[in-house]
């Protein structure tokens, strides 16, 4: 985990797995954690799963979180705030395209801020 890592937060584990497959095909050198679905594997998000995914991929360069809809953003933000993580940011970008851009940038060894800026560049409100 020499590079910035990524965590994908979605209502569905199929979504997080699918996005991870797409990204790792092109960028194998970036760790991608997944938090898809609820504890029971149903549609939803779960703060404990998000925490676990962050801790699995956390390295010294930090972690960027990408989320899909509804509770995903709130739970991602809560997971970061409640555990008082340093260098873990929630990114405002579409989960697939944003995480893909971020992974490519992270694979070049860029910093957390540089990777986040690249991912958010085209999508900011």
């Amino acid at each position: 985990m020499a590079n910035v890592s990524i965590v994908l937060v979605s209502h569905s584990s199929k979504v997080t797995e699918g996005i991870r497959d797409i990204i790792t095909q092109m960028v194998p050198a970036v760790s991608i954690g997944v938090a898809g679905g609820t504890e029971e594997g149903e549609i939803g998000t779960n703060i404990d799963k998000i925490k676990q995914a962050i801790e699995e991929v956390q390295g010294e360069k930090g972690v960027l979180l990408f989320y899909d809809i509804g509770s995903a953003k709130m739970n991602a933000e809560l997971a970061v705030e409640m555990n008082e993580y340093k260098n873990v940011h929630v990114v405002e970008a579409p989960i697939l395209e944003g995480a893909f851009v971020a992974a490519v940038e992270a694979g070049m060894g860029k910093s957390l801020e540089e990777v986040q800026a690249a991912a958010e560049k085209n999508y900011r409100d």
Binding site: T38, I43, S71, L78
Partner: protein
Amino acid sequence: MELNVANTVKWMTLANEKIQENKTYLTELDQAIGDGDHGINMARGFQEVEAKITATDYDNVSDLLKDVSMTLLSKVGGAAGPLYGTAFLKLSMAVKGSETLDFPKFKSGLAEALAGIKQRGKAEKGEKTLVDVWEPLVDYLNGQNSFNAAGFESVAKEAMEATKDLEAKKGRAAYLRERSIGHLDPGSVSSFYIFSSLAEVLKEGD
């Protein structure tokens, strides 16, 4: 009023009972304008809350409310988890260390809880969310010097019913825009169950 460990446990137990009874109704409301999981999520969350707090001994209300918050955060899969979880966490923090809550403490705690919901959900009043029940209640309490169970419940009920005419601006229902008008907001209905349970428990204690 006095909210102590015993009647807070009763409050949550009664809220769970109402949510279990209305699980299908909440789900139907959510199917109309959302993703249809509100009844199931709230029923699961409050079942776990009751199990947790009835199996634990508490010295003070704030620790109890913190466990309510943590259980809802972990066990409710939809947006209700982080929103109610944040609300009870803020309430717990506002009354930290308090063995019991008197009216002024409850009033300020509820105001903090509302602020937490608004910050977490980036929502304001009038957007067809649970803020539309919590904010009128906080405003109502600000004009009161003591807790009036009947008054509290009727404000909650009216506020909940008024969400029917609103157009959703937040949450899944916002994607439906004007088609969300004419349906009650499910989160406001579950909030009403929580607050009417509180009113019932405190009425008994009068």
